[in-house]
Symmetry: C2
Subunit: 335 residues, 2 copies
Amino acid sequence: MAVDKYPGTWPIPAGTRDLLPGEARRRRALENQMVTVFERWGYQEVATPTLEYFDTLAIDLGEEVGEELYRLLDRDGRLLVLRPDMTTPIARLVATRLRNQPLPLRLFYLANVFRYESPQAGRLREFGQAGVELIGSSGPEADAELIALAVEALRTAGLQEFQISLGEVQVINGLMEETNLPESVIRSLKRALTQKDLVGLEDLLLEHQVPLQKREMILGISNFQGGLEVIQEFRKLTANQRTIQALDYLEQVWSSLIKLGVDPFVRLDLGVLRGFEYYTGIVFEGYSSDLGFPLCGGGRYDNLLSKFGYPCPATGFAVGIERLLLALDNQNKKQ
Amino acid sequence: MAVDKYPGTWPIPAGTRDLLPGEARRRRALENQMVTVFERWGYQEVATPTLEYFDTLAIDLGEEVGEELYRLLDRDGRLLVLRPDMTTPIARLVATRLRNQPLPLRLFYLANVFRYESPQAGRLREFGQAGVELIGSSGPEADAELIALAVEALRTAGLQEFQISLGEVQVINGLMEETNLPESVIRSLKRALTQKDLVGLEDLLLEHQVPLQKREMILGISNFQGGLEVIQEFRKLTANQRTIQALDYLEQVWSSLIKLGVDPFVRLDLGVLRGFEYYTGIVFEGYSSDLGFPLCGGGRYDNLLSKFGYPCPATGFAVGIERLLLALDNQNKKQ
């Protein structure tokens, strides 16, 4: 077959994709499976505009995501962005148009989101998310419900080998507190940790003269992975109240996961941090054996809705549609 | 209930919408109906990126749509746009990645598109389209298939009273040819006709000293609405070969519509023109009794694919999802 010059002549933007017949059908089938699971668990679909005002989304963006925004000016000179996730738009929606509804609210969405990332393998600039938000429920049972629903979503899609890594951002916040460093430095430390950039993390800790023992705890946090014993071990190393409360909370979530029968799919990982700044409690990410990036992720964000004038606890997660399709491809190749 | 200040405090961009629980579900149900109809007729789903390079979309944009583009710069300084429709992206997709596939190709999509329109009633800046493209088939049977599929899509959605207005752009192009005016003036005339701006149209015709008889034909074209008799009447008024061939073609399409049993849903309307420049043959729009804008629209575009290096006839249409939901609402209110 002759080399075809046309795809190069009419390229599409880096990090975006066309879906051919068959590919689009398969994606729709997966999306429909997600809808079925979410509805069975009592979640209701909502949708929001692809474009939001920057002021709305800037309310609680992480530095990393902030840099990745697609921005454009509307004709009145106001800054618009292509939404980088659905959690903040849905918080806005709940705090404005659903604030008179009885709580808890169980909402789900299927939406494309946009981030100006370097288009490496699996790093798309436009990608689909199927996600849920449980709004108005605090406590470990609510968090465990979300994790169990994530497990169910991945299993319904047909994924057999995967694992949810579960952490709690206050474990790390407690450690950071102990360093007495200014907020801006702590943000840089967390960013390095989120990116698993241990060299950069160590450089920062040395530069800011964090004492050896604290330095080692921060650098070593990602080694605390496993079952409940991880929490027991970490307890021995710290007297920080914030960290200890977070460990207590993780134990309670773990008990709820056992009741729901999904603990075999979950592994504690005290080093889990995510790119969005809005997380306040547990955070989790789903991994399959041979994919180097999470298939799904989420956590608790109890302060986000209050920024829209509606103080209310919340927790949620999203599955990355393209990543899940890739994991299913890899699984099929092996079989 | 107290007046709620929050929706105003955290507005969404004009011409966009949130869908609440129930609304989103209803929309998804309608989309699934469209998928079912399109697949039953042998159409396969494809998808393209929300963002395209301006150079790709500019290949055959009408002036009106060109002004309505959402533009942004990517970080390499290239101009991107939010797609204003799916026909050009799918032409690009076919001409690049599907050019080795046997023809005809029957493709469908469900996608949101973006136009910077004045947000009057029903004029959204982001809206959903469910559409099909039949690529590689010329001739009246192919055009009639598309019209019949549009009828079937609206009926499947539950719409009872609607009408497809059917015209042929070459009827008007023939009349325009007779004026011997430069291309730029003809574009302005067509634009006024598309917008049904008869005052502006007459002003232009007078300004450019178009003789009375031709002026009256152009101004009066929208009065030629009805069954086959419309074609007979119009034949008496013109000797232009392009116009006459277009009238012949419309008669053939009409015969095919009768064979398919959908002629009761169709009305000839020689004044139909649409905003996109790429149409080369029949054009049609679907209207319900009490909605002032089309629910669906499409037509033949035999030159678009050749601009991507793959000469190939094509015809297609799209249903406006929000407009169809609105028409269904109106119908339910009356019953």
